[in-house]
Symmetry: D2
Subunit: 367 residues, 4 copies
């Protein structure tokens, strides 16, 4: 059992607080002889880095990762991989207000209730800063998965505003500050989020992750189901309140005839007519694209005063100034990708252990 | 790492196939000196038991549980608790068709792809029959939680038909065959589901679980978050495709001001004005009621023929006859309750380990 | 974390008390498509079964194992394997004395101190009867290991009496009631143990396990070392007080020159001149035979009265009548074999996971 | 499952190679509000630090530990504690010889066989340098255990030379370079080890660890036994080949009457007449002092040439020059203490979880 470790055979243990000297993680179980250097990891961190547009927090840090162990001459050795990022922009300030007051909707309260002590500087351990290490670990996980699997995420809803899926274009993702696959929606969102930001408010979002090239057979019934572990991984990201696989909640309204993904043979391979299942049946991958969605609530750090209490048991008002993301969902896109990558890497190793003689992509028998 | 074990300190390992001689589970980590006998567990199994109305499968079994170890003179001893239910209605039949053909949307396919072998009789290990052991384990978990915590579930959507929340009445739950808290909706659902059932079709559902009396402080950031583990637990139930905590996906559309659960002091205690968070902040319980929802897809066992393939790589049509639930979501209500109970029992033990001197329900300090 | 589970990828969870209705185990993680039936397991249980000579307890039970799940048409399916043995000879007797009194050197005392409750009938959970399930699990582990690995145990010391290693003959093992590889020593031991038995006393023993055919590369530095896990597994057997790998404690007295196992090339393979290391270096197997030894103390169930206390806090005398092994070390031989088999099966699966492209028996490169 | 993590609720994950930039560990599960600073940990590291006498390696490093996370204002917060030590004396040298050649008796060979790659600089991950982090973690574990428990180690055999136990004096331990409790023996050992050192040879040792003040009830039958986990922990230390609890192998030669630790009431408490069991019965602590011993083999880094092979499959001779410990057993004393402290801290937390209402030191009932 662990509180700060994620995964079973591909294990990621993170540590660090928002305003401590550094944050880091240890990755245990990475197979040997995979190419790995800082240059492999850094691009993923850069995608998540704050301060890249006016729509994310203005905290500015290079987030330069260092590999402290587990590689030799550019290859993994099978030993634990230690990654570290120094915190360079812990702006000196007076934390007096949030040291004593609990922001409504924030972990301030529950950390205090649980531990009786809390590092309040910048949110301490509960800060989204920790997700930088998830992204770093995800980059290592991608090395385990190899080039055959591709994991991409997109913002499909910003506040109440969705996208037009007929305009979905993966190439658009990196051409706007929202990771939005619909260029038209992205333009509209910019105006909308400017208003939210100027009002000192915040707004939620929905992120969708696709994993292509997932071989069939990954997953481990009944309590290590691929969808269950993805759900746990995504729900564990800061501020997430909902997770869906495939059709998700919409499947509840369907009848069996409409929800069935019909199959046919196409040459030697099974082909599907649809993908309501999101690539997972019975907790095991089908070989279709894996599709998962998660909803992020609006951050609780807002300018409008809200009624709360302080640690002395007094009713107070709280209003949060400072550098905050008007929509934390935007930077959750690379984090969601990373979590899915880590779950898949873990399950790939588990699959190799339990079914060693199974081909990576088994075909149906023609016996 | 385990494939068939759930939980960390309160650990449940289930085993058994739908048409094997019996199914069972082993519960490890249950504290000693708790009252436990078959009479404590059986009522929960009876709620889940099939064949109780025309809306569930007509398989008829007493599902009588036996305790084979771990108790002495009516009390738990701290030793592992072995529970066993004999399968008595494994109807002898010709499985030839589903032995070779994969039902669209069913784990038939993925078990074959993963393992290269499959016990096709009644769905084997992937059958919802396994959930009986989850319910049994949930009953033991409730003994660990004690009388102060109450975990109840309700069906809040059947196919496309929801409920009127202003009519919510917990007392209605057991007065209709749907675990529906809205008596008016329940009556309408009966007519609707009769039509579905007669058409040999199936339909999905949404279930909502409430846990009252959860002490603040349960949960374990960052990778053992209470909401993350509940999400994983619920997503791991057969046929589940989505999970929400509190406002869930609706939170994405809110602004920060609207999503904040404002607080005030009421005497010595913190009181909340709302519960958008569903009782969890930062992965740790707040002391408010815990609210989780999950969506169940329509079962893939339907009468209408659907295009598929067989294990010899031929295109075929599949139509499932036999005893099936027109809406598996109904019997998922006690299963969902049980999973939440197990997660809470696990976290209660974890909390005691890490914060031994914390009072069970800490109050804010007035220092 | 688990109290009653052994292993990581090949996981064995045992349950049951000496005088409960049955004992059993669940094996999770066994690869699919391995031959498995009761006939595969039973011979190993028969070797451990009590009552086969006058030197083991006269409790007589067939110890007939049943497979309740996880196989289909004679092959494993990848689903959990549930094994069960009914207790048939729980002789009805008055437990009054040991219910209240603590046998010196017995777990009676510590179970009471820990749990505040104890199933005292026949030792309850602390009875060596539980080791039957270890042996059963070991038989399944051998199926995972395949025919290339052979795991054999021998009694090399009975009380103060050792063997002459120059007479070691594996074929003698099953020709005497002691699993002794030295026929001359076995004859002498019979007379000695008769005396011990008639005196109502007990005596300790040392067991040695050899595993041949272990491929190089099994093990997982630094906290899953093969030798560390074997040490934990053997020390966890009832009454064990010491464990050695290779030369063990004798290595402490050696100088580096004498302890080094020199190597040379023999054709394409590395050959060793000696095996002080017992087949393990740095926690990883070398490909040489794995050699482990463990010491068993004399059982605390003896006829001679000993001073003790009872649960009411009174000083008392305790003398144990009834059916007991004069030397529990004898039946520990098949148990030790089983534990080593389980550890090796676990590490074989772990090795496949982390180094998937490594050949099962890598050779040194001639590049 | 983890390769580089130790413990279950008090979890230590170490990382780093001998000649990498730094080594470190992450401690997860430490309860909140315990005093912790570098000053608490450093003294234990100083005891293990090399270069303090002519009998340990002349590598000279301050081994100054830094706490990077998990504390706030001098107290633990419940968040993971990251510890880091920079490597400052990675002497630049030509590793050509050991890069290609395998030292007999060294992990050089098995790391290569397992991973197909190896950081040969100073032994890489297999270097005893890693044990610095075990000692650091042990210092944190002692904070968890509190002042009531005291864990001390002593060297009781150096090569073939033992001690006179009648001269045992804990105060002598730190007054000689061997952690030897017998001042007379220590003087003799100095002359002996000088000879070994000058010959470029090495020698083994036996270390004994005592833990006083261990409350009864710690341990977790059947597969988390306190003695089994201590055995695994000690056998996992570099170069260890044997482990004993209490009388250890000597118990095999005893009869039941002689091995029984008789008990009597002394006031309200149970008192024992002897401690053959070493403080553990049935895997659970009795409240007596816990006694464990382990044997360390002579290091394989010696000056005398030994026959071996290289990675190209050629027969070669190997002779190790450079800075090495003539007896690695000396510095294993603080490491052994640390491992026992970690196991006890882990079990203390586990005990609190499973038996929350049990007093820390239960007494026998006088009902």
């Amino acid at each position: 059992m662990s509180h700060n470790t994620f995964g079973h055979l591909f294990r990621v243990t993170t540590w660090g607080e928002s305003h401590g000297p550094s944050i880091g993680c240890v990755i245990d179980g990475c197979p040997p002889r995979l190419p790995l250097s800082e240059a492999v990891i850094q691009p993923y961190l850069d995608r998540r880095r704050p301060g890249q547009s006016r729509f994310t927090t203005q905290r500015r840090e290079p987030d330069a990762v260092r590999i402290l162990s587990g590689t030799f001459e550019g290859l993994t050795t099978g030993a634990p991989i230690s990654l570290l990022i120094d915190n360079t922009d812990q702006r000196s300030k007076d934390y007096g207000e949030i040291a004593d007051r609990f922001r409504p909707g924030h972990a301030d309260l529950t950390y205090t209730l649980k531990y009786g002590i809390r590092d309040y500087r910048g949110g301490g351990r509960s800060s989204a800063r920790e997700t930088a290490m998830r992204v770093a670990a995800g980059a290592v996980a991608r090395q385990v998965l190899g080039d055959g699997m591709r994991i991409r995420g997109a913002l499909v809803q910003l506040g109440p505003h969705g996208i037009d899926r007929s305009r979905w274009d993966w190439d658009t993702i990196d051409a706007n500050p929202f990771f939005c696959p619909d260029a038209v929606a992205a333009a509209e969102w910019a105006a909308y989020l400017d208003e939210v930001r100027r009002a000192g408010s915040s707004v939620g979002a929905v992120i969708e992750i696709h994993a292509d090239g997932v071989p069939p057979g990954l997953g481990a019934p009944l309590y290590g189901k691929l969808d269950a572990e993805i759900a746990g991984a995504l729900m564990g990201i800061n501020a997430v309140k909902g997770v869906e696989i495939g059709d998700g909640f919409a499947a509840a309204a369907l009848r069996g005839e409409d929800n069935a993904d019909e199959m046919r043979m196409e040459g030697d391979e099974v082909a599907f007519d649809s993908n309501h299942a999101g690539g997972i049946l019975g907790g095991i991958s089908t070989g279709q694209p894996l599709v998962a969605r998660f909803a992020v609530k609006p951050t609780s750090s807002i300018l409008s005063p809200r009624r709360s209490v302080d640690r002395h048991g007094q009713s107070v008002e709280v209003s949060t100034r400072g550098r905050h993301d008007p929509c934390v969902g935007i930077r959750a896109v690379p984090v969601g990708e990373a979590m899915v990558a880590c779950v898949l890497a873990d399950h790939l190793l588990r699959h190799r252990a339990q079914t060693p003689d199974a081909p990576e992509r088994p075909r149906l028998l023609r016996n």
